[in-house]
Amino acid sequence: MELKILDIINTVLNNRGKTNLSSIRPEMHLRNDIGMDSLDLAELTVRIEAEYDIDIFEDGLINTVGEILEKLKNN
């Protein structure tokens, strides 16, 4: 699953001409470390939802990669 999430994150970054990541770690902060803005986060939710059928931001904001993985595992 982590590879798939890495892939999705890179698709979003790539679409805005931002540098791809080679790996992700749970503690990485989506905005502070990965540099996503609100447009990127919105796209990320849609792409994750298309893949896993889960709106990760449904109950409030997710800040880190670990929180995404957690949310997907629990569902």
Binding site: S38, D55, E58
Partner: protein
């Protein structure tokens, strides 16, 4: 140090004295203002007011084709003019600057562009009285420190700019910062006032800390949900939270501390409804390049709570405009831009509701061959339309989904 403007991204800290010095030293002026720098934009607006010349604000990310659509030009250098220093005396200090601004000539005009409902953004021109109609000038406001979270060329940003400048306040740029940086700015600068879209506040949450310096939180442009209001109140316990209704045509019109709006008694006869749509009398509207009848249709649908005094809630937009985090996107404009790609035969732009931005722009395209990719469409659009208008999800289909009447389906 009497700070005028700070932006941490560029490491810029500018005092009122530096601003005054820059204005005194400027020798040329160009009415077309398109700059990445907030400070340059602010300085140009102030200079235009002092010399009584019009100013036209253009988003710094407008593409050349958008500029040609809006103004018929993409290069404005030939409009640069010399400033006649004889009729423009040197400014001595902040007090003198502000008092000169408050006496801006009746002939001065400021033009900005709305997102428009017909495909091309609409030009709206205001004079000093109409653009500053809702600015509150008082001694009580003289020590305010503003967190600036809007684009300086949009109506909301202009309103914050005037509220801050005419009271001699400090402006701290928060736009484009990460949440950690924003909190650091609030703390280090003791920011007292923030005006931003609900999306901006949503992205700040959750936060474990609380900030006592903030006394006022203003929001507008989208619906603000109750959960966000509660969370914000925890982070800013001393702040009064206000929701405002403003349009580029009118500036700020109503304010509310929840989702129910009421109107000032003096506007009683200038506001009415028709088929649940809010109508505003043309005396409250700036000049636009389209003819407005006596009553202006806002396109906003409201639910009336009480008739007299009039109290109401905003329900939705009547038009097809898509609200992306407070920015209005016209699907027709986006479709028009996509259709200029030769390989694309047909397109439908539509919103998908989204927990981060309210809505996200999506599209379906019908292509003549399979060589075109999602990323090549995006790269093409980057030279055509602003970033927030570019579809984030592009679906390749054999034919577009239509409604029963054969119209292209929007939702």
């Amino acid at each position: 140090m009497d700070l005028f403007f700070e932006t941490r991204q560029q490491g810029v800290i500018l005092t009122w004295d530096i601003l005054i010095n820059d204005i005194n030293n400027s020798t040329t002026y160009n009415p077309y203002c398109k700059s990445d720098s907030y400070y340059e934009t602010f300085k140009n607006i102030i200079t235009s007011m002092l010399i009584g010349e019009k100013i036209i604000l253009l988003d710094s990310d407008f593409t050349d084709s958008e500029l040609i659509n809006l103004t018929e030009h993409s290069n404005f250098s030939s409009y640069t003019q010399e400033i006649d220093k004889k009729s423009f005396p040197l400014i001595q200090n902040k007090r003198e600057l502000i008092s000169n601004l408050r006496e801006t000539s009746k002939n001065w005009k400021i033009t900005l562009f709305t997102s428009g409902t017909t495909g091309i953004p609409k030009k709206v021109t205001h004079n000093y009285d109409s653009i500053t109609r809702f600015v509150k000038i008082s001694d009580r406001n003289s020590d305010n420190i503003w967190g600036f979270a809007y684009n300086p060329t949009h109506m909301a940003g202009i309103q914050v700019f005037y509220q801050a400048v005419l009271n001699g306040n400090t402006i701290i740029k928060l736009f484009g910062l990460t949440p950690n940086e924003i909190y650091r700015e609030i703390k280090e600068n003791n920011i007292t006032h923030i005006s931003a879209t609900p999306t901006f506040y949503r992205l700040l949450l959750p936060c474990d800390e609380s900030f006592q310096s903030v006394r006022r939180i203003t929001s507008g442009g989208e619906k603000f949900n109750k959960k966000t209001i509660h969370q914000l109140q925890d982070v800013f316990p001393e702040a009064k939270i206000t929701n405002v209704y403003a349009t580029t045509e009118t500036g700020t019109l109503f304010a509310s501390n929840n989702d129910i709006f009421s109107i000032k008694p003096e506007y009683k006869n200038l506001i009415r409804t028709e088929n649940d749509e809010l109508l505003i009398h043309n005396s409250l509207i700036g000049n636009t390049n389209t003819n407005i009848n006596e009553w202006y249709n806002t396109g906003d649908l409201i639910e009336i709570i009480t008739e007299d005094p009039l109290r109401f809630k905003f329900i939705s937009r009547k038009s097809d405009m898509i609200n992306v985090g407070g920015y209005k996107v016209n699907p027709l404009e986006v479709e028009e831009a996509i259709l200029t790609i030769p390989e694309i035969k047909n397109v439908r732009v539509f919103p998908k509701s989204n927990s981060v931005l309210g809505n996200i722009i999506c599209c379906e395209v019908v292509c003549v061959n399979e060589e075109i990719s999602e990323s090549s469409i995006r790269i093409f659009l980057q030279s055509k339309i602003q970033e927030f208008k570019i579809p984030r999800i592009i679906k390749f289909v054999d034919e577009l989904s239509t409604t029963r009447t054969g119209k292209i389906k929007r939702t």
